[in-house]
């Protein structure tokens, strides 16, 4: 082989390489599996199925999508599965902040660093709820009454988002609460309606029906500013009428739960980019807006460095609370 032909070859290769990204950005070649790290019917499952439905409807990819539930162990089952599928770009894991919170407080066999982050797609807000006929009208009244030390706070799971927030309330409000863990937010809402609890910190969608039905009402929202007004929930009030907790003297500026999307570890940047792009397209559809509105979530899209920063901040925060409570696993 002469010198010129080698030169020609490498030139051709370089040209090819130059055009590669545009031409052959990674495309899926076989069916894609969506793993919901929650049982059928939960918030994470609903998200995975809504995204699947939007992709199928708008033909955003050629390949069929199957949703699988792996919600065992508060979602750990799904993350462990993701970890075990390293390098497989056909598994997309849908979860929450428990991807990085759970490994802190229990001996599960994964960490969020075993996965490739794709995006955080929606934020669920937290509110402080009390029974409809409770005597207190503001978070301030609530804290005064809770000073007795007899208050029962319910929540979903143990050492998870709800309990972390409960411990933050204890600290900020200088009170002591008895935290009772249940399986889900819906179950907790019914326990409050039945008067077995004094309060809980459910997401809007978990207690929406109960608020409308007049069994419980929100005192305040853990958000820097009030929620968007939207349609009225009860005859007189909507989400926008709920004051922020800071306004009412409970100094917790922000507490949110992101809905997160992941790929297994060791996938190529091309493959991750494909899914980031796919989720962006999903978010631009009217069906997505509809889903966000009906489930009363906040539309966000964090990816890349922004998502990373969010995780780091949240992790620091949870570490601090968990450390104070003695929850951290060695």
């Amino acid at each position: 082989m002469g010198r010129t032909s080698i030169f020609m070859l490498s030139a051709a290769a370089m040209m090819l390489a130059g055009t590669m990204p545009a031409l052959s950005a990674w495309q899926p070649q076989k069916p894609i599996e969506f793993i919901a790290t929650a049982g059928p019917g939960g918030g994470t499952d609903n998200l995975a199925r809504a995204v699947q439905n939007i992709i199928t409807k708008h033909k955003l990819t050629e390949q069929p999508i199957v949703v699988v539930n792996k919600g065992g162990g508060s979602g750990a089952e799904g993350y462990v599965y993701g970890k075990a599928s390293a390098g497989d770009p056909y598994k997309v894991i849908f979860g929450t902040s428990n991807a990085w919170q759970q490994p802190l407080v229990s001996k599960v066999a994964f960490n969020y660093t075993d996965l490739t982050p794709v995006a955080a797609m929606a934020q669920d807000e937290f509110l402080l709820w009390v029974k409809q006929d409770a005597p207190y009208k503001t978070a301030g009244d609530y804290l005064k009454a809770a000073a007795s030390g007899e208050f029962k706070m319910g929540g979903a799971q143990s050492k998870d988002t709800d309990e972390v927030l409960t411990r933050m309330i204890e600290k900020a409000g200088k009170v002591k609460l008895t935290y009772i863990p249940f399986k889900s937010g819906a179950e907790t809402a019914v326990q409050l309606a039945g008067g077995h609890l004094d309060s809980h910190v459910n997401n809007p969608s978990e207690s929406l029906g109960q608020w409308r039905g007049g069994t419980q009402r929100p005192l305040c929202v853990f958000s820097p500013k009030r929620l968007p007004q939207g349609a009225k929930v009860t005859a007189t009030e909507g989400w926008g009428d709920v004051p922020t907790c800071v306004e009412q003297g409970l100094d917790i500026k922000q507490y949110e739960q992101p809905r997160t999307v992941w790929l297994p570890g060791k996938v190529t940047p091309d493959q991750a980019a494909f899914y980031v792009d796919l989720m962006k397209k999903v978010q631009a559809t009217p069906e997505w807006k509809d889903y966000i509105e009906k489930t009363s979530q906040v539309d966000t899209f964090l990816t890349g460095a922004e998502f990373d920063k969010f995780i780091k901040q949240d992790l620091e925060h949870v570490k601090q609370v968990a450390g104070e409570q003695g929850w951290l696993v060695k």
Binding site: R49, N53, G73, Y179
Partner: protein, 512 residues
């Protein structure tokens, strides 16, 4: 009688040609997923869910609930024919359904099961129709202590029961509790009993356990006992179907008692599984032929089936009115409601009258459609029993393996299922009862959660179980059920102290 007017309005929505077609399609799909073990109603409904996003909410819920009815019926088929329960709630049906089918009466067993199931469902719907608002209030009264009391009652109705030696029952229960504890604990959030196997963090799936314990376990026993492995020569006889259904009214008391237990457990919400076990346990205690239970008694099929369907149906009520699903399938449907833009909760009955009453009316019609379709298929299913054992045995193994794998696409589940098969075989050989083991696996962790939540609430005082009339009554009823056999035996001893124990030997044989 406001409700009656609403119901009639509901019928005008439910009984239209497109909706009737949806019901038939839903029921047929449901029977299919019910018959294939490992698929089951919750999975079937979640597979269908995305298809309903473009539909009217009423049409969507009619399709999904019809599928639910079909799956509930279908789940009994494999329980009776092959001793493989497709759903947790049809485990108790295997106790007498399978022996009856092996005895050459598969047609009668299936028809009895379907007939009593339809009766249970009907009572459940009537309850929903007339007592919706009252029922919603009852469920609200249930805090952790009351939940624990209900589970305690379910255990008590089973444990005190004669049959196996009490110590063996306790051992079986204890093993079941240990298996239920595997995975992440709700109350402390820590990982328990995974023995270094990462995947076990998800816990042991019920389906995996019962397919091994019943399906494979039974198969191993059959292989060993040489010509137990015969094909059953069952005639395909349509008249037998009607005869079996016609005989049902003779067991009126069992039907009504089981329906009452089912409705109670559906509302409270102990769920269909606890209901079917409790109903079976109580029937065994109070039926005149109780000691023959486990050998193919008609009432042993009627009791769990009626209660299962009564509970399954009335479980939809807490879902609609409170937003708590009474069963796994109800949980999926509730997810659907949110996506269709409806909010389950107290206001649904006020805001969405067309939806709620359309659904309730469709429960009447859907169940009639389901029972008609399913009775038509009885001879076909019964004919499966004529296939020789050498053909059917490998098929059962395949069904169990595929079923176990498809629960969460995990190879570990297949291995565990086979392990459970060996446990099931050993239990049978050593005369340990399987029922308490399964009951503990299914509701053991729920009972544990409820107990520990109660303890958190009361700061460790047992007084919480006697804090109000409701929970005191439930606990006392449970204790009474536990002590009843002991008291009866003492009374018998007191009356004729000389008569030696001839009966226990007869009972010893009758082990589930």
């Amino acid at each position: 009688m406001d409700n009656l007017g609403e119901l009639l309005h509901g019928f005008t929505i439910a009984v239209t040609v497109p909706h009737l077609v949806l019901m038939v399609v839903g029921v047929l799909l449901g029977i299919l997923v019910g018959v294939l073990p490992g698929l089951g109603a919750p999975n079937g409904v979640s597979l269908l869910l995305p298809l309903t996003f473009g539909m009217q909410p009423v049409s969507a819920i009619i399709l999904l609930s019809s599928m639910y009815w079909g799956a509930l019926f279908g789940g009994s088929v494999t329980s009776i024919l092959f001793n493989i329960p497709g759903e947790p709630s049809s485990v108790a049906t295997t106790f007498d359904g399978y022996p009856m089918a092996r005895d050459g009466r598969p047609t009668a067993a299936l028809a009895t099961a379907f007939g009593s199931a339809a009766f249970g469902a009907l009572i459940g719907v009537i309850l929903i129709t007339f007592l919706a608002s009252w029922v919603a209030q009852v469920a609200l009264a249930f805090g952790p202590a009351e939940y624990f009391a209900v589970y305690f009652l379910a255990f008590a109705s089973f444990v005190g029961m004669g049959g196996a030696a009490p110590i063996k029952t306790v051992v079986a229960l204890a093993i079941g509790f240990a298996i239920a504890a595997i995975g992440i604990d709700t109350v402390s959030g820590s990982v328990r009993l995974t023995m270094g196997v990462d995947e076990l963090v998800k816990g042991v799936s019920f389906v995996v356990a019962v397919m091994g314990l019943f399906g494979i376990g039974e198969l191993l026993v059959a292989v060993e006992e040489e010509f137990h492995a015969r094909a059953v020569s069952s005639k395909i006889d349509w008249r037998e179907v009607f005869r079996a259904v016609g005989r049902l009214p003779r067991h009126g008391i069992a039907l009504l008692r089981s329906a009452a237990i089912g409705c109670w457990m559906g509302i409270t919400p102990g769920g269909p599984t606890a209901a079917s076990f409790m109903s079976y346990g109580i029937a065994r205690r109070f039926s005149r032929r109780g000691r023959y239970f486990g050998t193919g008694e008609v009432e042993g099929i009627i009791s769990p089936e009626t209660a299962d369907h009564a509970a399954g149906t009335s479980a939809l009520l807490p879902m609609l009115s409170l937003g708590i699903p009474g069963s796994a399938t109800a949980a999926v449907m509730m997810g659907g409601l949110m996506i269709w833009g409806l909010n389950p909760g107290p206001m649904l009955f006020v805001d969405q009258k067309d939806f709620v009453w359309g659904l309730i009316a469709s429960m009447y019609v859907g169940n009639i459609v389901a029972v008609a379709l399913v009775l038509l298929t009885v001879p076909v299913f019964a004919a499966l029993m004529r296939i020789p054992f050498v053909v059917i045995a490998p098929l059962i193994v395949i069904i169990c393996v595929v079923g176990a794998y498809s629960v969460s696409n995990s190879y570990l589940d297949v291995v565990m299922m086979l392990g459970f098969g060996i446990v099931g075989y050993l239990f049978k050989k050593l005369f340990y009862p399987l029922a308490p083991l399964v009951l503990a696996i299914v509701i053991g962790d729920k009972a544990e959660d409820a107990f520990r939540q109660s303890m958190l609430m009361s700061k460790g005082s047992l007084g919480i179980f006697f804090a109000n009339k409701l929970v005191t009554c439930l606990i006392m009823a449970g204790i009474a059920l536990l002590l009843l056999p002991l008291v009866l035996q003492l009374a018998r001893l007191w009356r004729k102290p000389a008569s030696p124990a001839t009966e226990p030997t007869a009972q010893e044989k009758v082990i589930i």
